[in-house]
């Protein structure tokens, strides 16, 4: 039985037909799966493989390389806080401790009510001019202070699960090298 909806399968087929070679549609197809399921389940990846005429292990090998694909379900909203240099110079650590105490779980964890999964990342988000910065469900939030963070979280808490490829995240991902092994 298919775990993917007809809409998701149609999106994968549309992606497949966009490229000169079907395999190029792996990343966009995985986004479509994550959009529907909130993460990449083995069943979802198997269907991508079928639609793109690849083996499931080929698809899984690609998926495990990229840090934005989630390998397990998480909270309804995803908070990603940058701790690279430009953000650290302007108070990223204060934002990290604030989130930790406010959400009551360490980086990579999910709140008890299932509303948020949050993590800090060394990946610069490309928002250094508005440091410290974070992304909530893939939208940039910049010039953060603890008060602004509170207002942003209050704003999204009640909102429905993330639209777009954000989906619901897994726990913190390892380095690409760790993922390679």
């Amino acid at each position: 039985m298919s775990v993917l909806t007809p809409k998701t399968r149609a999106e994968i087929e549309r992606q497949r037909d966009r490229y000169p070679h079907a395999r190029s549609a792996v990343l966009p197809s995985l986004w479509a799966v994550q959009h529907q399921l909130g993460y990449l389940s083995p069943e979802g990846m198997k269907e991508v493989a079928e639609l793109l005429r690849l083996t499931p292990s080929e698809v899984e090998a690609v998926a495990s390389f990229y840090s934005m694909y989630f390998d397990r379900p998480g909270g309804r909203h995803h908070v990603l806080v940058c701790v690279n240099v430009s953000c650290a110079l302007r108070g990223a650590e204060e934002i990290v401790s604030h989130l930790e105490s406010r959400l009551g779980c360490p980086s990579g964890g999910t709140t008890a009510d299932g509303a948020f999964t949050w993590e800090h990342t060394v990946e610069c988000l490309g928002a250094c001019g508005g440091a410290p910065a974070m992304q909530v469900d893939h939208h940039f939030q910049e010039n953060l202070t603890p008060e602004r963070v509170d207002a942003i979280l209050d704003g999204v808490r009640g909102a429905p699960a993330a639209e777009g490829p954000a989906g619901r995240p897994h726990r913190s991902s390892g380095s690409a090298a760790q993922r390679a092994s």
Binding site: P20, L27, R90
Partner: protein, 430 residues
Amino acid sequence: MAEYKLLTKDFGMDGIQTLAVYERIGGYEGLRKALRSMTPDELVAEVKTSGIRGRGGAGFPTGMKWSFLPKDVHPRYLCVNADESEPGCFKDRALIDENPHQLIEGTLIAAYAIQAPIAFIYIRGEYHDQRLLLERCVEEARAAGYVGRDILGSDFSCDIIVHGGAGAYICGEETALIDSLEGFRGQPRLKPPFPAVKGLYGKPTVVNNVETLSNLPHIVLRGGAWFASVGAEKSTGTRLFCCSGHINRPGTYEMQLGTPIRELLEDECRGIWKGRSLKAFQPGGGSMQVLLPEHLDLPLEMDAVQRAGSALGAGAMVFMDETTCMVDVSMRLVDFYQHESCGKCAPCREGTYFESELMHRLEAGALTPAELSTLTDICDNMNGKCFCPLGDTATWFVMSAYQAFRGEFEEHCGAGGCPVKRRHAAMAVA
């Protein structure tokens, strides 16, 4: 001298993200001119005359790159590098957010020059809203006849496919980008063969940065000779500098190349914040070597900054005030490379791991002087020995900081904490 606004001239204009407004201010006239009055070869020659060098990091002359494509091998592909993930860089995001059609027009001009039937815009996964914006703009341009079959009644056809990444810095490296676009793990390929000869799907391919391409409408409309008159002799035109860190006014500023760094810091960034003084800065992005206050009078010019031991790279400028701990900064950059190492080659995969381990213990004040010396050893075994520049550059900042701030590194050994942070905390209390 203030900013010189060429690419950023229309930033902030109401509705600039729509085709109607972009056309009203002369948008797509460059493409029209190229298609109507220039052959692809003439266009390549014009871009050579402009002297423009790539804005993605390496500074390779764009016209020359295009002319490396083997004659009569088709199809050819254009890849637009919008993977921007270099720590400290956010200019490509600004160019997309603030003038997406300028990039699309530049993309089409480049595709015409190299006769590519498809251009792929590879955009990092985190730029989700920017990807949606570009997709919408491509559809708008398609409906108006700028994208697709027989563009503007010419016999040139080109499709644009916006392709989202999924979180991997290495996919900004051009051959890893190609691997990723083909649907594989994004790992770099051996060069040669270079993408110009054997790239996407084994076909001749040009990879160009967002900012490089955003310049093309201006080069076509105003001429290569005019462009070459802006900026410095061997660094022509302008660049967008992404300024961040301990400054009063962070942001992207477009400067003529050749302007002294001091003017960027003092006039545009409005100096170091809180009345403090500058301790160090990093030009070029997370990969590049540290520079000191004595380097502020260097011109924003690729070769001059290189002679000073660093590089303009991808146009970042991260300024650090007197309270900054250079060990802490180095540790964060090393962590980044460790996280982003693709795992393909041992010196990078293992080296960044050991580097990161040592730096964490050093910042915690728990390293012995003997262990500190192994840091140099590890870096020596990485620099120049990795499969691609990611591993090499994972040593550049930390080694340059170790050289320039040796006392500060040594002071951390056995200090049971960060002595720099301790000192400034004590000063704040006093």
